[in-house]
């Protein structure tokens, strides 16, 4: 378990990162709907991911409506790929035991 990135390993944050890994960028509403997290919960996890440098948050406007755009940074993509590799490795090891 020591190989796994603790920031991403938390299920809600992994969910957010995995969702963002499949798109160029998405807004807060899309991640909220897809993750089924509460608004507050999502906000706090996003703040942690932003602090770790994995997610970029851009607050903008579409017309008069506020729009919060979220995208995975290069570091975030690398961390997610690394996490997937570590997880596959761990699963492989446990299957061989």
């Amino acid at each position: 378990m020591t190989d796994l990135d603790r920031v991403i390993h938390e299920p809600a944050r992994l969910l957010i990162v995995a969702l963002l890994a499949g798109v160029k960028q998405a807004d807060f509403l899309w991640v909220l709907n897809q993750s089924e997290l509460t608004k507050g919960n999502l906000s706090s996890h996003l703040a942690k991911l932003e602090e770790a440098g994995y997610v970029e948050i851009e607050k903008t406007y579409k017309g008069k409506t506020p729009l919060t755009l979220l995208r995975l940074t290069r570091q975030g993509h690398a961390a997610f790929q690394g996490y997937r590799k570590s997880l596959t490795g761990l699963l492989g090891k446990s299957a061989h035991k």
Binding site: G22, V23, K24, D27, L67, T68
Partner: protein, 209 residues
């Protein structure tokens, strides 16, 4: 919270493109235009009108394919994104673009070889059923990849339509009828799904973090 299924999450953005029925609706309208334009074209008198029609319509229909994608995005911006969220999809990779081009070129070459080497009369009766099977298989693949069972119904409609039109030996015209009717079925399914989507997802209140 359970550990999320990463493979399932990776497919979510692609599935989101079809969440509102708009792609089927647009594709249906496009096919109606294609089938209808070809059917009308065969009834145009063989004088200057025929020349003018066939000079203008094929490029317009080809451009219609691009216009449909553009229009789908614009309508999504107005209807879908304010309700269930905005997504900017990743551009297809170079490999994916090259494989799509390779498939299109192979299909075009195969078609050209068939046209040159085979009896045209036999081919015109085979074309509609064969195309319907290809379309049907595409619907089945889309249904499995996108977890969209309604595509299976469209696959059934495509095959049934192709086989019955083929049995009627209507020649090339049956292909136009197939696009017209299949387009109407797609537009109907898309329209119903869009109506359901709009009812299930009222416009979201002001969004923020």
């Amino acid at each position: 919270m359970q550990h999320p299924n990463l493979d399932d999450l990776a497919r979510r953005p692609a599935r989101y493109w079809n969440v509102d029925g708009l792609p089927e609706l647009m594709m249906g309208l496009l096919w109606i235009a294609w089938g209808g334009a070809w059917l009308i074209g065969q009834r145009v008198p063989h004088d200057w009108r025929w020349t003018a029609y066939w000079l203008a319509v094929p490029p317009a229909l080809a451009a219609g394919g691009f216009a449909a994608v553009w229009a789908t995005r614009r309508v999504k911006e107005r209807l879908t994104f304010p309700r269930t969220g905005y997504v900017e999809w990743k551009e297809p990779s170079r490999g994916a673009r090259l494989s799509a081009a390779a498939v299109a070129i192979t299909a075009a070459v195969a078609l050209a070889v068939m046209v040159v080497t085979r009896d045209m009369r036999q081919m015109e009766h085979m074309a509609t059923p064969v195309l319907s099977v290809i379309l049907s298989l595409s619907f089945v693949v889309a249904s499995l990849k996108q977890r969209a069972p309604h595509y299976l119904a469209l696959a059934g409609v495509a095959v049934a339509l192709g086989l019955s039109l083929g049995a009627m030996k209507g020649g090339w015209e049956s292909m136009n009828w197939m696009f017209l009717v299949l387009g109407a079925a797609c537009a109907l399914v898309g329209g119903l799904r869009l109506a359901l989507f709009l009812r299930q997802h009222p416009r979201s209140p002001v969004e923020g973090i």
